[in-house]
Symmetry: C2
Subunit: 315 residues, 2 copies
């Protein structure tokens, strides 16, 4: 459905454009030299929240080393790669530094969802912030060895943690999530969880489990959440989603049954919507004020791709 | 390429057939009652190694509760689901029990790769062993809280671990891996790592990183390993791979350059092979004795799917 050659401009977090230069990660002295170069720049996070700086022209996410706020309090620093040969890293400032940072003239703390929605920065920088958030978030929650309980230390430019007690190496985690539009001809199934804004409906979604194929995970989640049996599953899109560290795998799934039985713990409501209704929800022109997710989210693009297929089939 | 409706019979670990019955997991008393039923059966692992039992007719992986060897020494028990309503679980026996188990008449310890290759059991049971291995392997390596270092306990039938010190919930981990056949018309690129058996070549592969789309991970890994630039990427297959706990995401990737520059740390050799050569390697009839992976592995099916496309295009 979605073009693999051209990722949609308005899909969030898929536009990372720096050279990860992974072969540089093992060389700690080399990374330190890179970080000291004049053209080195740094993203900064206060816990999970990006720290931006005001420029005359708007907001920027890249800091020069000398301008990083509260630098001595910094925690992990991760090497993200090279932008036209210039080093790019991200630095974690402690969550309790937030009041001091918010009181600093010229700094703006803005959570990454808001950045993704409002887009005060170019998409490649927002994607780099997404990469950094997932990686720094992993560090924040994995400072101890899950194997033996002792403290670990970040190595390889932040792409590993090493337990010096038992020698176990730990790698950043990415959780596969399936997100699917269930279809029945020119009707599609959208649901809402209790935590959605009023009137918003979206694709069903859930974490893939050990021992599952993507197709099995789609079928299980749909059956659990709305009681609908699914046959053919097509993978149509994917997206890194840094809340906190997922890989969204988007699919279109053909219904084999249509009666809806909600799992009340997971789903507040789910309905079959006509293509016309879904199109109005995507465009925010639905007469009842119902909406579907905005363009940052992969769900938007799955629905849009499905609607294009329905339109192509009918005309 | 591969049929989504029909998973290949000979692809490994994709045939899990039990109802996971996830809604039962929260009810500890209910799970205990299920495990005590007469028709409850258990898979058993000694560390990473499945414990099988000899029957008159061959081998079986399912034990009745009373017949589980060394039961008092058991570690985690995980609830895998229901088979026609009958409870199915897996039990972890400590790795150091191996000599005692191997000395027990009627028991056979066989590593899961060997099981996958030799198939002494039906594919759905091998897939259940794969699910159990990934889940039990996660337990073995995650008995402490990565957030605070204190011991954790398995809850929810083994689908979570809880840190009673800091309250953090930990979930089983599945690592997305991209595995891709790079193609240049009717030539395809296969490589070998230093640890492959002599003469074997396979698809390139590597872990997806935070902030990456599947397509970006394919392009980065190919460029890192063999210096070839890749354009369009099509996802054609996927497979849970329990060594130790990956999701293999299989792709066909079109080359935009063809000169090969090996990363000697990762790749011992990589070459462009004609479709005829690749077909002979798949069939184990190559005149130089070169081979491609066996049917258990997704790489086999990606190559086979590509060859079918080449044949269809030329005929």
């Amino acid at each position: 459905v979605l073009s693999l050659a051209g990722v949609p401009d308005d899909l969030g977090f898929v536009h990372f454009a720096w050279d990860r230069a992974a072969q540089r990660r093992e060389d700690a002295a080399g990374l330190a030299s890179l970080a000291a170069l004049d053209d080195a720049r740094f993203l900064a996070f206060c816990g999970e929240v990006p720290v931006l700086r005001e420029t005359g022209a708007g907001l920027d996410a890249l800091f020069q080393a000398a301008d990083i706020p509260l630098r001595p309090a910094g925690l992990e620093q991760v090497f993200l790669g090279l932008e036209d040969g210039a080093p790019r890293s991200a630095l974690l400032l402690p969550p309790d530094a937030r009041p001091a940072l918010e009181a600093t003239a010229g700094l703006v703390l803005m959570d990454l969802r808001t950045i993704g929605i409002k887009r005060p920065l170019p998409q490649p920088i927002i994607s780099a912030l997404g990469c950094a958030k997932a990686l720094l978030g992993w560090h924040m929650k994995h400072r101890f060895c899950a194997h033996c309980g002792q403290p670990t230390e970040a190595i390889c430019g932040g792409w590993k943690r090493l337990c010096t007690a038992c020698g176990t190496e730990h790698f950043p985690r990415t959780d596969p999530v399936v997100i699917m539009l269930v279809t029945d001809g020119d009707r599609c199934l959208l649901g809402r969880s209790h935590r959605f804004p009023p009137g918003m409906y979206s694709c069903l979604a859930g974490f893939l489990e050990p021992g599952e194929t993507i197709e099995d995970a789609v079928r299980r989640e749909v059956l659990e959440e709305v009681g609908v049996r699914v046959g053919a599953v097509r993978i149509v899109a994917n997206q890194p989603w840094p809340f906190p560290m997922s890989l969204m795998i988007g699919a279109i799934a053909e219904a084999q049954s249509t009666a809806i039985t909600l799992d009340p713990a997971e789903i507040e409501d789910a309905r079959w919507f006509s293509a016309a209704d879904a199109a109005a929800m995507i465009d925010h022109t639905h007469p009842e004020g119902l909406t579907a997710p905005i363009t940052m989210a992969i769900a938007h693009h799955i629905v849009r791709g499905y609607l294009a297929e329905v339109a192509a089939a009918s005309g």
